[in-house]
């Protein structure tokens, strides 16, 4: 695929991600609304309305369009560098078209790059696959307010009586949800990474957000853990925006990585209700968005 065409498809991927919530997210918000009453219900209703209007007018669902996180699966014939270049150009153009807010700030000088391109921005993760010409690009836009709600636990953690076992892990998840209250624009989703090192543990937690909300974990033990913690976190009663209610989160998703004998990390990432992730797949030269 020539760089121009690829850039065009990536621009559309960015637009869709920023302005059009995926169906599984909207359905989850709608189901949550139907279960709620009072201000919890109307808050969810406003969120759903906002998402519909954003889609119709191609305007960002939330003005914080977050950081751009690209996961790219590519065949041997496709050079990652070219995909990254096209994606950077797409991000800059998307900013110009107001699909994205300029969100890349130099931490030392405080200068905004004004086009979302900067050091480590966008972020890319490449993975080579068998099929020579395959290309699948997944994009997540991760908002800043919800990013501030994440936490990494080092077990054992005596402050929450979390030992190095499944009960300890559950206590971490519950504690992270409690601390987040409604601050990350609840109801969001908790992504949990168990094991790994500090970095991969957090990565695992973030990668959970690429899963569909209504999928089932292939590992039966983790599937059970997800269901149990989803229910228990909702029982906290924090509710949409922290106004109180049954819907504290829309889901809990868990992934694991082998850990070092000396380390036991539990990382919890939070993503807000404006849960934006989409994918683009090129099949026989044709673009398919999902």
């Amino acid at each position: 695929m020539d760089p121009q065409t690829l850039r065009k498809h990536l621009l559309e991927l960015v637009r869709m991600t920023a302005c059009d919530l995926a169906p599984d997210v909207e359905q989850a918000l709608a189901r949550a609304r139907d279960r709620e009453e009072g201000r919890a219900r109307s808050t969810l209703e406003w969120m759903i309305k906002n998402s519909a209007e954003a889609r119709e007018s191609s305007r960002p669902v939330c003005q914080d369009t977050g950081s751009l996180i690209f996961y790219v699966d590519h065949g041997r014939e496709i050079r990652p560098g070219l995909v990254a270049q096209a994606a950077r150009e797409a991000a800059a153009e998307a900013t110009e078209r107001s699909y994205l807010r300029p969100n890349a700030v130099d931490p030392i000088t405080g200068k905004n790059s004004k086009n979302n391109v900067g050091r480590g921005s966008p972020y890319f993760h490449f993975n080579e696959v068998e099929d020579d010409n395959a290309l699948r690009v997944r994009l997540m836009l991760k908002g800043g307010g919800s990013e501030n709600c994440g936490a990494q636990y080092t077990l054992p953690d005596n402050t929450i009586e979390a030992s190095r076992d499944l009960t300890g892990v559950k206590r971490c998840i519950l504690d992270a949800a409690l601390r987040a209250q409604g601050f990350g624009c609840a109801p969001g989703v908790l992504g949990v990474g168990i094991g790994g090192d500090r970095m991969t543990s957090f990565m695992e937690s973030k990668e959970q957000f690429f899963r569909k909300l209504d999928d089932q974990n292939l590992d039966p033990l983790l599937a059970e853990l997800e269901d149990e913690m989803h229910k228990k976190v909702c029982e906290l009663g924090i509710g949409p925006m922290g106004f109180g209610g049954r819907t504290t989160v829309l889901g809990v998703k868990v992934g694991i990585r082998h850990r070092l004998p000396a380390c036991y990390f539990v990382s919890v990432s939070y993503t807000c209700w404006a849960y934006r992730r989409r994918s683009l797949e090129i099949v026989n030269g044709e673009a398919r968005y999902a």
Binding site: C62, Q63, Q181, G237, G244
Partner: protein
């Protein structure tokens, strides 16, 4: 749903309690860090009229300008906690009846709400499109050059701007209430895990 028209008299504000859903119509003003510092350290004569019995909104909007003037493109709330050092003084000095933002505020602001008859209203985070649409007109802007777009004081006319009262003028805070209840609940759940 309670309708509030600005300017609003103290007795109407005193009737509000935490958890009330409201829609606000009338003229209000945006204010972030620079504006708060300015209002406290100097006499902000140009905003006195809008603030008296009025409301201020913690918002750094995305705006655009055309032949007809300025327009709000995105207008979601920003985190209010940053204004905690200033807000009580602003409420007292300018006779503000409502502070709109997200995440709630602290003890000093709550005390000022009680003493002077004001409330804190929580807008829904992330509601960029709906909230921008409720801004019918940008009347004027103060300190645009000095503070920049997000920090400038935008005087806006809103229609049916949705929010929830989360701190009232009787010393109640929904944030504290939810935090206490959920902490207690977490303790109980934690034992069963």
């Amino acid at each position: 749903m309670i309708e509030i028209k600005l300017p609003v008299p103290e007795e109407d504000i005193r009737r509000l309690k935490v958890g009330d859903e409201v829609v606000i119509s009338g003229v209000m003003i945006t204010a972030r860090d620079a504006a708060h510092k300015y209002m406290v350290e100097q006499e902000a004569a140009e905003v006195k009229d809008v603030l008296k019995d009025g409301m201020l909104y913690h918002c750094g909007p995305v705006v655009k300008q055309d032949d007809q003037g300025w327009h709000f493109v995105a207008a979601g709330p920003t985190t209010s906690k940053r204004e905690e050092p200033y807000e009580a003084d602003v409420i007292a000095r300018y006779g503000v009846r409502g502070v709109i933002g997200k995440g709630g505020m602290g003890e000093r602001t709550l005390a000022a709400c009680r003493e002077h008859g004001a409330v804190y209203l929580h807008a829904i985070g992330g509601l960029a499109v709906i909230l921008a649409a409720s801004v019918k007109q940008v009347q004027t802007v103060h300190k645009l050059e000095e503070f920049g777009v997000p920090e400038a004081m935008w005087v806006i006319e809103v229609e049916r701007f949705p929010a929830v009262v989360t701190m009232d003028s009787h010393g109640n805070s929904l944030h504290t209430e939810v935090l206490e209840k959920s902490t207690e609940k977490a303790r109980a759940i934690s034992k069963t895990l």
